[in-house]
């Protein structure tokens, strides 16, 4: 990706951060911390890595995105709005009765949501199943990208799926770990230490890459290489910061599942416009 393209994605990231703050503030509840830590990952996927067409959300050759950490729904909705899957004005209906923007993504409500998630630890198996179905159909073009939280990796089902992806040599599966070091009850290393995440995936037979999860350039490079891989599943362990971009939310468990009040939202948006200049 050229420098101007990277600058464009970085610009999109700021727009998505604004959307996340505005929609969570309007909802009065939701998960800003883990949405903000995933912004560059999701933005890079939708803006430059994934083959997708908002006009044809069911296009067979599209790449698929599974938001296994479903509580970060706002980052997905922000990306979908950015790319025209839904009108931006609809974002503020998040979590309201009758909205297509459910608290956790619902594939039966919103086109562009590939699969319903919300119960942690199931997305990788869903991705595997989708990848196996593509293989059975002889549809070799798509890659299934699956974004997981680091706390989420504590679910045993993640490792059952990791084992299966390697066993079936699913080179059309790319997992991304949002390694922000925090879950709800505290730091992952204090709540339930994950140990060395890259080594764990390597031991399960995966190709492992690591990168700065807030660098569009590094993400772009890693995601493209992972997409092109032909030797079984690839995981990108992306080092991130929870709440990234909003000074008073950064690296704090408190902002995992709490909406900013009107004053906090205003301060957050002001910070984002400063950064945008």
């Amino acid at each position: 990706m050229s420098q101007p393209d990277i600058a464009h994605v970085a610009h999109v990231c700021q727009a998505m951060r604004r959307d996340i703050i505005e929609m969570v503030a309007a909802a009065g509840s939701g998960h800003p911390g883990g949405s903000l830590s995933s912004v560059e990952i999701v933005a890079t996927l939708y803006a430059s890595v994934m083959n997708h067409d908002p006009a044809r959300p069911d296009m067979p050759e599209r790449d698929r995105f599974v938001l296994s950490k479903g509580h970060a729904a706002p980052v997905l909705y922000a990306a979908l709005a950015e790319h025209g899957y839904l009108p931006r004005e609809e974002l503020v209906t998040l979590r309201k009765l009758g909205s297509r923007l459910q608290g956790h993504p619902d594939m039966r409500k919103l086109p562009g949501v590939e699969v319903s998630t919300g119960s942690l630890g199931q997305g990788l198996a869903l991705a595997n199943g989708m990848a196996l179905a593509l293989r059975l159909d002889g549809n070799t073009a798509p890659t299934v990208f699956c974004l997981m939280g680091d706390g989420e990796l504590q679910e045993g089902s993640v490792w059952e799926a990791a084992m299966a992806a390697a066993h079936y040599r699913l080179d059309n599966v790319v997992a991304i770990v949002d390694l922000n070091g925090l879950q709800i009850d505290g730091a992952t290393c204090e709540v339930m230490d994950l140990g060395n995440v890259p080594e764990k995936f390597a031991a399960f037979g995966w190709t492992v890459m690591t990168c700065d999860g807030h660098s569009v350039a590094e993400l772009q490079d890693a995601l493209e290489r992972a997409k092109a891989a032909t030797e079984g599943p690839v995981v990108i362990v992306a080092r991130t910061m929870k709440g990234r971009g909003i000074s008073f939310m950064e690296n704090l468990c408190d902002w995992h599942g709490k909406a900013p009040n009107a004053d906090e939202a205003e301060r957050a948006l002001a910070e984002l416009s400063d950064q945008g200049e």
Partner: protein, 313 residues
């Protein structure tokens, strides 16, 4: 007394119990703030185990602690406690009749904006079906305290269902609670309203509406869904000849099903069920959602009128 959520009773009561008993230990799965077990963690850090986001591991570990002579309380949201870890509960806890006390919070629709993935309306059904398991669904803060104490005092597995949203106080400090005994909160000869959890105060409100039209209702707080208090139920239904059940749960397998089974076998009479009609929840604020799913006092009153109408028809 101010409205309080039943989940708030959890952390507070566990601390009280732990002061008296060394065997009380607590496990959570990365939701200690929301379940309120974080209070226990602060007071008894050595007897608290955060298992991370690993509910299945938490339940089987709790079973192991019970084998080792401890009285573990395992806590997380109802959807993950019962759904994710069902086989651990079945095969490691209930099959061996181990004294694991599952204290699940955020049950039902009033979870609100998190939506259908988190609004657990099948947990009573899952837990009721298990041999050895007892199911308690307290209706206010004090009855929640009592339910947690009963679970701690009584051998064997328990499921205590707690809510996220604040509910009005229905009991005073002098109220008595007993496993297998329902509490009759209001008496009347015309219709029996049986409710549990956050539907009990709504049932009382419905009884107030009905009284304005001269219809007098028995309102039974069936805190002890399993074992069900069949004596209190049948005594009331025998008197009124019309029954309404109310629950923040699916009409399949919950309180309504338990009451229907009891009435069908031992005292058939017209019955109506107020509950979630075999659908998943959805995002929204708690009270509008309760209206959306027909879980309101006026729906209960309407169901009571239908039940009475069927009796006299």
């Amino acid at each position: 007394m101010a409205d309080r959520a039943t989940r708030e009773a959890l952390g507070a009561t566990l601390i009280e119990l732990a002061a008296l008993r060394d065997d009380i230990v607590v496990l959570d799965a990365d939701l200690a703030k929301a379940t309120t077990t974080v209070k226990f963690k602060a007071a008894y850090p050595d007897r608290f185990f955060d298992m991370g986001i690993a509910e299945q591991d938490m339940m089987a570990t709790a079973a192991g602690l019970a084998v080792g002579g401890k009285t573990p309380f395992a806590s997380t949201f109802a959807v993950f406690a019962t759904g994710r870890a069902y086989d651990q509960i079945r095969n490691s806890i209930c099959y061996a009749n181990l004294g694991v006390k599952i204290a699940a919070t955020h049950a039902g629709i009033t979870v609100g904006p998190d939506g259908g993935s988190h609004q657990m309306v099948e947990d009573i059904a899952l837990m009721r079906a298990l041999p050895n398991m007892r199911v308690l669904v307290p209706s206010d803060y004090l009855s929640a305290v009592a339910a947690i104490r009963i679970a701690a005092q009584t051998p064997g597995p328990f499921y205590v269902r707690l809510g996220r949203a604040a509910v009005p106080a229905l009991y005073t400090e002098s109220a008595e609670f007993e496993l297998g005994r329902a509490n009759v909160l209001r008496t009347g000869a015309d219709v029996t309203i049986v409710a549990c959890g956050g539907m009990v105060w709504r049932a009382l409100a419905a009884a107030g509406m009905l009284a304005q039209d001269g219809i007098e209702a028995d309102v039974i707080d069936m805190l002890t869904v399993k074992p069900l208090d069949a004596d209190t139920l049948l005594a009331s239904s025998g008197k009124t000849g019309a029954v309404v059940t109310c629950e923040e749960h699916s009409v399949i397998g919950g309180l309504g099903s338990a009451v229907a089974t009891e009435l069908g076998l031992n005292g058939p009479c017209p019955m109506e069920m107020v509950g979630v009609q075999d659908v998943f929840g959805t995002s929204g604020d708690p009270e509008p959602l309760m209206t959306h799913f027909g879980l309101t006092a006026s729906e209960i009153a309407a169901a009571a009128r239908r039940a009475i109408g069927r009796r006299t028809a």
